[in-house]
Amino acid sequence: MATRVEQPHVPAWQRGKVASWLVTVDHKRIGILYIGTAGFFFAISGFLALLIRTQLTNPDNTIITGNSYNEVVTMHGTGMVFFVMVPVLAGLGNFMVPLQIGAADMAFPRLNALSYWFYACAGLVYCTSFLASGGAANTGWTAYPPLSLEAVGNGQDLWILSIHILTLSSALSAINFIVTIHNMRARGMSWMRVPLFVWSVEVYAWLLLLVLPVLSAGLTMLLLERQFPETFHFFRPEGTDQGGSPVLFQHVFWFFGHPEVYIMVLPVFGIISEVLPVFARKPIFGYKAVAFSTVAIGFFSMLVWAHHMFAVGMPTYLNIWFMLASMVIAVPTGMKIFNWLATLWRGNITLETPMLFCLGFLSVFTIGGLSGIYLAAFPVDWQVTDTYFVVAHFHYVLFGGSMLGLLGGLYYWWPKMFGRLLSERLGRWSFFFIFIGFNVTFFPQHLLGLLGMPRRIYTYRHDGLWEAYNITSSVGSYIMGVGFLLFLLAIVKSVNGRRAGNDPWQGDTLEWYTTSPPPPHNFDDVPYVTSARPLYDLRRRLREAESA
């Protein structure tokens, strides 16, 4: 039964190749815009990362030193967190959520476009800050005052402005996701039949909505105190009777900042929970456990922020609280890892590129989770915080975790987005380069941190081990760079790649029911959803009908 869908009238000026993208309110096109723009920022931030590693190949290098180095470090972190990971997940969610729940579009298509254009504007401001007097922001992506109050020039102000705009963008898209998921699911899709990626986007959106206003408030305070230091004293302690507290900003920042980590990683958990079952030809092991652990992680992530601040000298009872709360998060995270492993158990595992990336995720994200235990135990944290151990830890979580899973997700859904498969051969090569390069880059950084190397320094001690680990790390980063070039090549070549058909991987969720790429209205008809795997059910009924 096919329903005829009325095509809305499109004025002539909006039909051009460029114009149609500029005015689009189609969630699929907006999703692609998001992903493409995030790719652009990934190129910038990745280049900055390679600059950092190049400077650190040798303690005496003078490629970027002093404030230039601090700028590069700041803009790399800011770029990767705010302009790559969060938006690219918004993009993937934009494309996939309506398709996975059998909807024709997001709930508010125009708001959706507005979110994207806010993001694009924020990105523009981020880029222009490189041209500001005094250079780009150079106080770290955390922008702790008083350092960020003192920073000369307008780089810091533009940094604040760009993130302000970005928080608007994310808040709007979060509202859109929540309304869409709550109201537009296909018939039969009860909460226990919602694809796990959609579950994770739901929690991602709630987290954004709950913590972003806090960041906006903190940034507003920072901006006011920078611009009107005579009037506002939030963070600068000078003149104790009217002075503020620099630690206050850290509380505000990390109340946002820790959930932000989960904002960047939960949707990737969702990707893993979609890919593993399809490539192991099994249902996810413990659907409810995986779904509820996502909610639990989201909830607890808002109670642990000060474990980033154990060295500021908090009272012991607070240290103990934040230690225990942080450890609690390990439990639902561990549940997920074991549920994923059990999903592989007795499967029929196909090792295609999406699966390779997701298995890579599983192996290294575990390391990132385990190193988190050291950081949660605050006396041990006093030794390792603010060192390369922390740098290694969060790259294992955010690169080994988020980025590898994301690449798996892109490989998995690329055929749905563009109707063409990405090359398997190039995919495999890029996986091996990225996976090996990643470990070579970041594993030695644990050791550097334990040896005593703090983060954010452009030169370091002349010491055999320090130099050996640093050069190893830099070599790894170039290997990773090659891997990403191969990934790019795969994308370029996919223009003439193999055509995908509706369902190249034999997926289980609704997006594979429609054509690749889907028509503007997504579905001609949506089957009644009978389980969390509607397409699996359809295929089974088809087989039964054939054999009958």
Binding site: P246, A311, G313, M335, G347, V384, T385, L450, I457, Y460
Partner: protein, 331 residues
């Protein structure tokens, strides 16, 4: 078809290998697999906690990676058709409960161990009649550490401390400065130096030596050069140094001026005053004018921060004397 790798066997192997790996790591100690060799009871207890956590972390690591590799090898497709279903298992409540309860138990054990060690790490040992605690004010400023001793002795970037005696550190940063973080890995964990806030930590060095460390909180331009060292001396030697240094400081013959020059001025103006990030100052008239140089140090210049705003008279005199003698006449 029997599994190639039995999970049970893997667990046993894991349990056997883990203590070995951990023991080897503990012995190796350096190499970066564990915190640097501790030279103070608090650093020692931190390292013990680290190793205790490692025990479980390694075991879990081996378990997860072992299962992952075993499953991928054992259940890979081989010649089966791609769309053949695997076992349609939707979950197992008991198993899932087990891997929820297991981590809770492990974390409880880890937390208990850390809490048992906490007093050793955190609580400052009380002064004994035979060994009074030495209280040193540690003041972090961009990009220098100042150490102020109870008798008025000031040293820059290099702290002297007696062996076997508890040293209490009162760490802060001036109102007008930024946040720094005090850290000597061999002598314990970090403690931030925060403007307007006083933080306390301590160490009790177990052997003589020089222990290196550096600022661990991004504090601006020369964060990377904000190094610190603690020189631990035999107690008697320290006592004589302590008195001698005080006398020298009063007589104006102490190396404080040079320390201030190296730690504060030279980072921007170059070791010889030849200029670097800041302008060349060697041989300029300003350098010889004690009054204007003091005003500049206390109030700051157009680009120059007020590095000497809270210096003691001793410090100011030491530096201005040093400037006159060593920097003013150059060039």
């Amino acid at each position: 078809m029997p599994p190639i790798v039995r999970p049970k066997l893997l667990v046993i192997v894991g349990v056997l290998v883990t203590p070995l790996v951990t023991a080897a790591t503990a012995l190796a100690g350096n190499g970066g697999f564990a915190p640097v060799a501790p030279e103070s009871p608090n650093a020692h207890a931190i390292k013990q906690s680290y190793l205790f956590i490692s025990l479980f972390a390694f075991a879990i690591f081996l378990l997860v990676e072992g299962l992952l590799i075993a499953f991928v090898i054992r259940y890979r497709r081989r010649k089966r058709p791609r769309d053949l279903d695997g076992a349609q298992i939707h979950g197992a409540k008991k198993l899932e409960l087990a891997w929820t309860a297991g981590p809770v138990l492990i974390l409880a054990v880890i937390a208990t161990f850390v809490f048992v060690k906490l007093p050793t790490i955190q609580d400052v040992p009380a002064s004994a009649a035979t060994s009074q605690n030495l209280v040193v004010d540690v003041i972090g400023t961009q990009f220098t550490w100042q150490f102020r001793y109870p008798n008025g002795v000031v040293t820059i970037d290099r702290m002297r401390a007696p062996e076997g005696r508890t040293v209490e550190l009162h760490i802060t940063s001036p109102d007008w400065d930024v946040i720094h973080s005090w850290w000597i890995p061999a002598l314990g964990g970090k403690m931030d130096a925060i403007p307007g806030k006083l933080n306390k930590t301590w160490f009790k060095a177990t052997r003589v030596g020089v222990f290196q460390g550096q600022c661990a909180e991004l504090c601006g331009l020369y964060h990377a050069k904000m190094l610190a060292a603690v020189e631990v001396m035999p107690a008697a030697e320290f006592d004589s140094w302590y008195e001698e240094r005080r006398a020298q400081q009063e007589a104006g013959t102490s190396p404080l001026g040079e320390e201030l020059w190296d730690g504060t001025c030279a980072k921007c103006h170059g070791l010889e005053g030849e200029g670097g990030y800041g302008p060349r100052i060697a041989g300029t008239a300003l350098i010889k004018n004690t009054q204007s140089i003091e005003a500049l140090l206390r109030k700051g210049g157009i680009l120059m921060p007020p590095v000497g705003r809270d210096w003691t008279t001793d410090e100011m005199n030491a530096l201005t004397d040093y400037l006159k003698e060593h920097v003013g006449n150059q060039g």
